[in-house]
Symmetry: C3
Subunit: 421 residues, 3 copies
């Protein structure tokens, strides 16, 4: 995954524009992404698709003609979504357009101004202090003009139309942990799922933050009831604690499942309640949608010093951390796959298993085998309200045996699958 | 408040009669009370308004003509609601009509006989023992005749028609803590509320115990659904523990609010579950009404030695205790005022705050201000089920900031008030 | 009860046949049982009534003509439901038809083959080892032919049509604890209940395991909603711990009641959650019926070494253990009888008790009697959702006083009985 991130790192992404398209095309080499283009001006919920932003070059030169800030060196230098400019100005005129982090004076911040027209540059505070009175030439060769918002989507169809939604943002430029680690893990996870026929369907979204989620929600409003589980993810590249932020209800199946998977990990983890800021769970969990969507990351946004700075680079992330994150997602999905409910078609009394050849004939003994017991447990609790996982927990019979027994009962047409709620 | 109690103390109150009217007139000097008169014989629920009782004088003289019991010295001496009598009798004939407290031999009890015709005197047990064989002249100059039951009511209208009910009994004669302390605190509280425009409406009842509550309920049965909160109160003059008795449901909003306010007090307090005896919560919480009404007192009825005796006088109560009680009610009402729910009019995704001028334009930073966060919390949880108080608790943002943010959102028409359930 | 068990012990019972009829006839001497005969071939839920099995004699003789296995000595020797045979064979041919318990080598097991045609003998493992090569004469003089399934039922009518179901299995041959102890205790319990007019109705089932319960359920499907409480029982003769296995819901009234009664016992007890194997609670608690039926035994099936062996005999059980079990059932039924809900006919405000002669006339005192309080508690909580037991628990007033007060209120027509849910 690190190699994939190396390909993605140099691209100057934003919420719209060529950087997003290039990113989606690179993902598309691994998984068959459907790419959507939504025109500028389209109404999406309370919002509107903004002008598309494309940047070719940007710099600040001092009076000697030396580029003292150069977009081509690091695309974080540009205030993301800056309008074009070509002007000479004094330091005093330039300064309000220079963004720094005084308390981390050597790092270059990542700043944006999507919805208020502005231009600017992001530099280290050390550099800011070193600037002398001079006449500066400021050039931003960018367009902010009608175009499209672009996002990628992949539906992996399972036997059931019920879906798990997995969403990651793709709008940040050269930042490794936030958001390239999320893009890489989601791509690898989608590829793995594509190679199987899962029970549930899985929908992956690679979208610009906020406006991307709002756009997808606006265009898919009538199908949201299919979403039974959801995770927003990113920040998966640092070898640290895992953090699960619950869905708004705090009591969704995804919450129980992720918490159960995490509780069996050897690595430390934190569980936090829903809060209405963070990533796109803000939109999925807005009260009018209230989807069962949690947020799974490692150390959360804003809680590591390199967050949204030039230090979120390859020194920060590791292949091992990415792999461990991917492994955790595998386990979550295995649990989700077992979180399905059957309905006993012979719910009145026990069906006669003997005549169907799946029961022990000599009675009176006290050594019923585990598989025999698993049949009885599934029959009794397949009322549409108990998943195989829950039956495994109730009975103390390991999940693999429960799944095996469920297959016997399915084959004998004693149970059928039903959508669970 | 002590001065007000001094005015009220000498009046011989009962469940009907001149004492009640005089009491309500004194309250009326402070707040604009509506005074209701309900005729004798009126059916009220399973009851009937009794004859009105008025007393002018009462005494017992010994054979030497000396008044050994004199109503004018202390109106507790009369068995409240005694029928008239003018007779001579032996000590043996008199004794069944003398009420004492043997275990508190120096105190005069307070006794009543509202619904069974009787006459009697209440004296100290010491005096009873000292009485010698003699011929006694017994005079009770009282009327028990068709008239009215009288009670006072004050509605302070808020922006919402939803009401809080605050009820105190006014039927006890010269007893300071029970019930004059309740009358004084409720009067002061109503006066304070009248000077504001609260969110909720507040209804104060100054009523005779039991029959007063039953009368008010019978006459207001169709409007009871407006009552969202209620407290029966009295016993507020002793500088002791506070006691909250929960509503019948035990889980009403008033229960949570009072318990929360008490938990932040420095003074000790007790919380007890609903029991179907005590004060007029018995009636408000009868199963056919089951109103969300709790009972807030200091040390409860029957649990202090002076209860319903001549020792419930000015030695027992203090201005400080009355003031502290009033302060507690102020806090309860502030919490009730914040216990209101809004509905987000843009519940699908986040509304775009930036275009409404209430969002920070430079993105990417991690120092969102509290007020910005409060906007998001209110928008996400304004689903008609979370009050401002609950949003404050969920978010950890102080209530005043939440209220400030709610006003911004109201002004921008992003939320509207709804009646909460 | 031991004497009754001595009468029942020699009978060779099975799920059908003469042994069942003889058993029911013996029970019928104590209680007026209704005996049902259901023909072979009748469809019952997913099952079918099997052929009726009757056995007259069975033996194995060695070549010297000596009976080495003799059904008449102990009816456990026959594999229950063996088909007839009359043949000579070698030891190697005989051996697959000999059932033993290697790890309890001196005991004879109890084995059955109801639904797969087979024949066999049960002997001690010691005997099996001692058998030498020989020609054996094998005779089973039995019929497996169209007939009936037989079960007994007794309904003791109470004032309410709501029922408690008490079911015990009667299909085991000479085994004292499993199932003769259950038959004896249920017979004695039914006799005691018949001598009273209980509030609830009580239905006793004496049925063959599994197929008997399935047959009864199939024939009574439309009346199952009358069952408010139920217990499957057996294993009551060993002086050991009591074991209560909860109903499938785990939260039925029967669960609370039995757990409460057990918690007041001095003897140890265990509570276990529902599991879908064991006795006929498997059928009553199948998801399509989901009846509020628990299972009450002493040490459970399979957990004592004599279980389903020749050692489950008179050495194992005692009259004291049987009597203590019966006493426990008495207590459970007393609690069930008190688990009834009334409805206050004057639910708005308190009804005026004084005018009905059931209230104390002198007011103002603080020594209300328990019975007076019980009246108020019942009136307030008789909303159809609180039983007398619950009112006793809520109020802290002992149940006998609550029942006494309920009778006063019933007589004054202030409350009426309603079916509780």
């Amino acid at each position: 995954m690190i190699e994939f991130i190396r390909e993605l790192y140099p691209i100057c992404r934003s919420i719209t524009g060529a950087g997003v398209r290039e990113t989606l095309n690179l993902i598309n080499r691994h998984i068959p992404l459907q790419i959507h283009e939504v025109p500028t001006g389209t109404r999406v919920l309370d919002w509107e698709i903004p002008m598309e932003w494309n940047i070719r070059d940007a710099w600040v030169k001092d009076s000697s003609g030396k580029k003292i800030i150069d977009f081509r060196q690091l695309n974080l230098h540009i205030l993301n979504y800056s309008i074009p400019i070509n002007a000479k100005m004094t330091l005093a005129e330039l300064k309000p357009h220079l963004f720094t982090i005084p308390e981390k004076s050597s790092l270059i911040p990542y700043r944006t101004s999507y919805y208020a027209e502005n231009w600017g540059f992001c530099i280290s505070h050390d550099q800011l202090i070193s600037l002398s009175e001079d006449t500066y030439e400021v050039v931003i060769d960018a367009d902010l003009s009608p175009g499209h918002l672009t996002y990628g989507e992949l539906l992996i169809k399972g036997r059931s139309q019920e879906e798990m939604l997995i969403s990651t943002h793709i709008c940040h430029p050269s930042l490794c942990n936030d958001n390239l680690s999320g893009i890489a893990v989601c791509t690898w996870l989608a590829r793995w799922l594509s190679q199987n026929t899962p029970h549930y369907s899985y929908r992956f979204l690679f979208i610009p933050g906020t406006i991307g989620a709002i756009t997808w929600l606006a265009r898919n409003e009538t199908n949201l009831s299919r979403i039974k589980y959801g995770l927003v993810t990113s920040l998966l590249g640092i070898n640290s604690v895992f953090t699960y932020k619950r869905s708004r209800s705090g009591n969704a199946r995804i919450d129980h499942i992720v918490e159960q998977v995490l509780s069996k990990q050897t690595v430390q983890y934190n569980i936090i309640n829903f809060i209405p800021y963070g990533y796109d769970e803000r939109q999925f969990c807005s009260p009018g949608f209230n989807l069962p969507v949690g947020n799974l990351t490692r150390i959360p946004f804003g809680e590591y010093p390199e967050y949204h700075t030039s230090a979120d680079n390859f020194d920060l992330i590791s292949e091992k951390a990415l792999n461990d994150s991917l492994e955790l997602f595998y386990k979550v999905i295995q649990q989700i796959e077992a979180d399905r409910c059957y309905v006993n078609l012979y719910p009145k009394g026990e069906p006669q298993l003997g005549k169907r050849g799946i029961y022990d004939h000599i009675g009176g003994r006290n050594d019923s085998k585990t598989l025999q017991l698993a049949l009885l447990w599934i029959l009794n609790y397949s009322d549409g309200h108990h998943s195989l996982t829950e039956i495994s927990e109730l009975s103390g019979i390991e999940l693999t045996k429960v799944i095996e027994a469920s297959e016997m009962l399915l084959e004998k047409r004693l149970i059928i699958y039903m959508n669970n709620q």
